[in-house]
């Protein structure tokens, strides 16, 4: 049996279903992200696991123990909140030691464990400071240290990076992954940022309107999105009409009954009158390492991403040909739930 198991987990608020019969198994040591737009039920799911929200139906099993209705204090899980939720009247050291004091850990052991975890999150120099004297990233580390020091079986992260600015966010992503690997702790992270979910998770769970719509490893999820919504939410996608040819191979075909997804980076730009489709460049955005072109074609406007290889970019208005490998087209199923 999996380490963390959600069985038909559901939550109703009055007439509204926030989470509907959700099933999820998380293996020991795994890093799983719950990804979805706001209001999709991902935070409610996390709060039910943490014990802050009553479960309406179903079960939560942790390491063989049913914790569905256990009090938060008795679950012993490590929780990192979006707002960090540090205790402002306590120093970094006391914040981190709080959980150990609640567990009546003897003082010498307590000191050692606090020192060790502060070193792990690289805050050993700031033990005496107060939260208000720390930067956002440092506060985030204190919150992480406070959750980790009690050596919880599972670490729950609720949008841990959404309050940080872009540069710091990327740095903290890798930092969280490093710490998670080093400690080997089973981790569940809630996020609405697809790049965050893709870059650091072992598996990504996509949620929509209270339901799980796809569970896959990041690469598989990106390459094989199941639905139109997922293909647009995880990465960028060009949606094209298509149909199967005589050999059963999927081809782009205007008026075809299938919806196909083609990632912008999988389209090649060719000279005019070459390739499968003709178009004109109508917009051009410089992203540093890449150029993002908008190409208007008979099938609508398509996004094309080109690596910035140092050569001059194509000007707006240039006529180009588009080509792609037909094996990279993905057939999408119709959304069963609306987001």
């Amino acid at each position: 049996m999996a380490f963390v198991q959600l069985e038909n987990l559901g939550k109703r608020y009055g007439e509204i279903d926030a989470v509907v019969a959700t099933n999820l198994s998380v293996e020991k040591g795994e890093f799983v992200s719950l990804l979805g737009p706001s209001g999709c039920g991902k935070t409610t799911t996390l709060q039910m696991i943490a014990g802050f929200v009553e479960v309406s139906s179903g079960r939560i099993v942790l390491d063989g123990r049913d914790i569905t209705h256990a009090k938060p204090a008795s679950r012993g899980l490590g929780v990192v909140f979006q707002s960090y939720a540090l205790f402002p009247h306590m120093s970094v050291q006391d914040n981190v030691a709080f959980g150990l004091r609640m567990r009546k850990v003897p003082n010498t052991e307590l000191q050692q464990r606090v020192a060790r975890v502060l070193k792990l999150v690289r805050l050993d120099q700031h033990a005496e400071r107060y939260p208000r004297e720390l930067s956002g990233g440092q506060r985030q580390r204190v919150a992480l240290a406070r959750a980790l020091v009690i050596e919880p079986p599972v670490l729950l992260l609720d949008e841990p990076l959404s309050n940080l600015d872009a540069n710091l966010r990327e740095e903290m992503q890798f930092e969280i992954r490093r710490i998670q690997r080093e400690v080997g702790i089973t981790t569940l992270m809630v996020t609405h940022d697809q790049s965050e979910a893709l870059s650091i998770s072992d598996r990504v769970v996509v949620m929509q309107a209270g339901r799980i719509t796809q569970i896959d490893a990041p690469y598989t999820l990106y390459e094989h999105p199941r639905t139109e919504f997922i293909s647009g939410f995880v990465g960028k996608a060009n949606l094209l009409p298509g149909e199967r040819d005589g050999a059963g191979v999927v081809q782009v075909h205007s008026g075809g009954g299938l919806t196909l997804s083609l990632r912008p980076e999988k389209i090649d730009l060719r000279e005019k009158d070459h390739g499968r489709l003709q178009g004109n460049i109508v917009s051009r955005f410089f992203l540093g390492s890449q150029w993002l072109y908008g190409v208007s074609t008979t099938l609508g406007e398509l996004s094309v991403v080109r690596r910035n290889d140092g050569s001059a970019p194509l000007a707006e208005g240039t006529a180009v040909g588009l080509d792609w490998d037909a094996a990279l087209l993905r057939v999408l199923s119709v959304d069963e739930v609306s987001a």
């Binding site: 205790f87 959980g99 107060y130």
Partner: protein
């Protein structure tokens, strides 16, 4: 340079605050100075106030007479007890209030504030109707076979009415500091293994101490100088300092003595409140900034 900075540095700042300063000077500083001056004037029962002669007599009789000590002591223990009761009732009340959902929260907040809209005299009479020798409380007692108790004109009546009047002044500052709390911090403490009681004691209470401190200062200050409630519910015998001052001014017509008592009350009040503020703030300053 921003407007604010130029206002801060230039004379413009004084100009802009001149109306407020004038008001402050005219309505507070000057009368206080006059009172201080008056308290040194010679008084004689046959000739009245002699504003040209000065004496320390009033202060020396204040220091020498145990009658005054008793009244000052009573005033301060009643105020301290009122403050303590306001903390005991007001802090949990403010906490519960902050946890209520709409629309109950606004309804109860208004309910708590409505006593402030009713004249203190009316409220004091209300209490005297309840607590009087033939009041509702004693009637109930007798109906159940008990013997009537003397409630009105006792410290009990004064304290209970003062707590009733002062409670909003405790709840409002505590409520304000509760608003600044991150509710997730309580969840974090729970997830770390703390009981609800420990969360209150170690997480919530220390963070709302500034609010409790301002509440105690307001309540103690207002209670120690309160006049209407001790006057109406304490009666002629149970005097507090404010009623004593009133007597000196209007019954004895000894204005300089009344002024001396008023100055003494002001100084003692200041002394108690400043040391209390220092004591509490000292403990929480480092952590709460």
């Amino acid at each position: 340079m921003s407007l604010l900075a130029s206002v801060r540095q230039g004379r413009q700042g004084y100009l802009l605050s001149a109306p407020a300063l004038t008001l402050y000077l005219g309505l507070l500083v000057i009368p206080l100075m006059l009172t201080l001056l008056l308290s040194f004037n010679v008084f004689d029962y046959s000739t009245g106030i002699n504003s040209n002669a000065y004496t320390l007599d009033h202060y020396s009789s204040l220091l020498g007479d145990p009658y005054f000590y008793e009244i000052f002591l009573r005033t301060f223990w009643i105020s301290a007890l009122t403050t303590l009761l306001c903390v005991v009732i007001g802090v949990p009340e403010a906490y519960i209030l902050s946890r209520m959902g709409a629309p109950w929260r606004s309804i109860f907040l208004i309910l708590i504030l409505t006593p402030l809209l009713i004249s203190v005299v009316v409220r004091a009479f209300g209490w005297s109707l309840l607590l009087g020798a033939d009041g509702l409380v004693n009637q109930t007692l007798q109906a159940f076979g008990g013997s009537p108790m003397k409630l009105l004109y006792t410290p009990f009546a004064v304290v209970i009415a003062l707590v009733h009047v002062m409670l909003p002044f405790m709840i409002i500052p505590v409520w304000t500091s509760l608003q600044k709390l991150d509710p997730a911090a309580e969840q974090a403490a729970l997830s770390l293994g703390a009981s609800h009681l420990t969360v209150m004691r170690k997480v919530v209470l220390p963070q709302i101490m500034p609010g409790v401190l301002s509440g105690t200062l307001i309540v103690f200050g207002l209670a120690a100088s309160s006049f209407a409630i001790p006057g109406l519910l304490g009666g002629r015998r149970l005097k507090m300092v404010a009623t004593l001052i009133y007597d000196q001014y209007l019954s004895e017509l000894n204005w300089p003595m009344g002024a001396a008592i008023a100055v003494a009350l002001l100084l003692l009040n200041l002394l108690i409140m400043l040391s209390w503020n220092r004591m509490i703030e000292g403990r929480y300053k480092k952590s709460l900034g």
